[in-house]
Amino acid sequence: MDSSILLALIQDGIVSGAIYALLALALVLVFAVTRTILIPVGEVVSFAALTYANLDNGKPPAVLILLLGLGVAAFLRGAIFSRGRALIQLGVETLIVPGTIAFAATLLAPLQLGVAMNAVIAIAVVAPLCPLLYRLAFAPLAEASVLVLLIAAVGTHLAISGLGLLVFGPEGARGVPFSDAVVQLGPIIFPGQAICVLAATLCVMGGLWAFFRFTLAGAALRATAINRRGARLVGIPTENAGLQAFWLAGLIAAGSGVLIAPLTTVYYDGGFLIGLKGFVAAIVGGLASYPAAALAAILVGIVESFSSFWASAFKEVIVFAGIIPVLLWRSLRHVSVEDEE
């Protein structure tokens, strides 16, 4: 192995790692606020990628049916329990917002306004799926154990990936790169898309850090994650906190999807493994710390890249067996007297 291969592998690992890092952030966020391990995050990635890739045919995105359908379902489910102002808010969030997005997307998609617009449309139509799923599947289970929430997440994943097959079909698609530019730094080639991925990851991370550190809304979200009852007692509407966390996760995951769409072929069910690796990173990072999760994600990407060079058949074995010692180390360091339920 010469140094150019070494550098190429590292670069490849960092790009994959950046995507895992974004998903890890989304997973940590959702878990911290709602104790849900959001397995369907993978579907959100896939759907956004497929939507972005399909937008260059100039047709309104197929996923709009799903968006509107879930919106109506969430409205009907919520309407049983809420009235008055809550019902109006529910209607706005589940009918008006998706409806407006769908309308705008239908209008804008045929105009072919370029990759940036397509990226915005793809994120705008896919990200709201996440909060709708929260309303449908997870909010009613807010008090349940982590295990039950996990199985509910599995159920959601099954249903959503089945719907994905109906909407997108079994074949993959690939998006137009944001930039065809190639930056050559000595022996390493940086494709423009890879640079976009890294830049976007850094921006999202920085943005999240600032949001949580400097805004009261961010602090309220953190507070809900730390002590839900305490948050309710100071007047934070914690159900909205769950919704916010899912919104953020939806935006991050949909953004990741758009970022990888030009890098690789994406399938309706392709997000599961990507999400799983983000999950690995999230847990290695302790499901609590954002920087640790991001670092772990980069590590997973690099290990994966190198093992696909050395022993591609055993790549997953190396990646997954390799995290066991890391888990061991983390678990021993973080001495929990009583396992959380």
Binding site: T264, T265, V266, Y267, D269, S305, A313, K315
Partner: protein, 386 residues
């Protein structure tokens, strides 16, 4: 058209599911389990879509098709098989789409003595022939037949060294084994054999490894659109050698996703893929174009794929063998099933969408060289190679 065929199918399912005893004595029931969801959905869906085109009547007997989805999962494929045989009392099993599922279905059909026609590719399903596999037939070409086509093409082009990258599943495994056998026989060296996952987002590591061994050509053994990723990465890394793919990529989406990255790629395929380019003298042409026309009437122009043709071929085998079997017994009886098996084994010179079938007690696939052609991707379309 679509809705009517659906209704027929639903009605058939209804009768089969709830009124086994009501069924007419002269009704042949065919149980189908295909992978319409899960990883193999891109193969299973066109296969299933062909079912409405299957013959509704054979001789005087009506035919009922009962279609189940196994989600590319072996457990469900086996459960479906048991359900079809025990509950619906079918005379023939068609399926499954994937090799591991098909392999697990074999003990069930052997136990029940029901013939089975697999739509999965691996030669392991029907070879080596033994007491159990007597009951099993298979429509897609053996990987070995296709691998030989590739190595022959390579030998002709003077290629001596090949890098291999394939799916880390039964498909990639089967291809690696067959290609290794065939290449060794032709004196072609495989410089390195790499694996990747269907859903992997990057294969840079594998491609760098392959390029480090400097092969004259690279063979990608994957199916459907996921097979485009290695080709793209090769181009991205500046690889200039010849690229080969397998017949698993033969659908329109692959061309779309692959784009200019797969331009010039060679692959073996059933003649079906380029039926319109075949000489009129080739008997396959008429059969294949007929199916294409029927399919596209239902599902729209440009939707037909070689996988759907495999699905159709299962019905063509059945359609040719059933009339013979009907002379030996009533549908639903062990005699009929045994006769159907014998008739399938006795098929000679049957022209199907993918070739000409000559079954024998030792070969339950029955294809010869006529079942494969070499194709090159030229200007984003399949081009038959002489």
């Amino acid at each position: 058209m679509l809705s009517r065929s659906r209704i027929t199918l639903i009605a058939a399912t209804f009768v089969a599911g709830f009124g086994a005893s009501l069924a007419h004595a002269d009704t042949i029931k065919v149980g189908i389990t295909l992978s319409a969801t899960g990883p193999a959905a891109s193969l299973g869906i066109p296969e299933r879509n062909s079912v409405p085109l299957f013959p509704k009547k054979i001789g005087n007997a009506d035919v009922q098709y009962i279609v189940l989805d196994d989600g590319s999962d072996t457990g469900r494929a086996v459960a479906n098989t048991r359900k079809l045989i025990d509950e619906d009392n079918v005379d023939l099993i068609i399926g499954s789409t994937v090799t591991p599922a098909s392999l697990q279905m074999i003990p069930v059909v052997v136990e029940k003595k029901v013939p089975m026609i697999a739509a999965a590719a691996s030669g392991a399903i029907i070879a080596p022939m033994d007491e159990n596999k007597r009951w099993v037939f298979k429509v897609p070409q053996n990987d070995g037949l296709m691998a030989d086509a590739i190595t022959a093409h390579m030998a002709k082009a003077g290629i001596k060294t090949v890098g291999f990258i394939g799916f880390n599943d039964a498909y990639g495994d089967g291809w690696l084994a067959e290609f290794t056998r065939s290449a060794t026989a032709k004196g072609i060296t495989i410089t390195t054999a790499e694996k990747y996952g269907r859903a992997d987002t990057t294969v840079t590591g594998q491609i760098l490894k392959i390029m480090a061994t400097k092969p004259q050509a690279v063979l990608v053994a994957g199916s459907g659109t996921p097979a485009a990723l290695p080709a793209k990465t090769l181009k991205e890394r500046g690889y200039t050698g010849t690229m080969y793919q397998t017949h698993g990529v033969a659908n329109a989406e692959f061309l779309k996703v692959g784009g200019k990255d797969v331009e010039g790629t060679y692959l073996p395929s059933g003649p079906f893929l380029v039926a319109d380019q075949l000489p009129d003298s080739n008997p396959i042409k008429a059969v294949a174009l007929d199916y294409t026309k029927q399919y596209e009437v239902v599902y729209g122009p440009g939707t037909v794929s070689t996988f759907g043709a495999h699905g159709m071929d299962t019905a063509r085998l059945f359609g040719a063998a059933a009339p013979v079997a009907l002379t030996h017994g009533k549908p639903g009886t062990p005699e009929f099933r045994a006769a159907l098996r014998d008739a399938l084994e006795g098929l000679r010179g049957l022209v199907v969408d993918h070739g000409v079938v000559n079954m024998s007690p030792t070969d339950h696939n029955g294809f010869d060289e006529r079942a494969r052609v070499m194709v090159q991707i030229v200007n984003g379309a399949w081009k038959l190679q002489p």
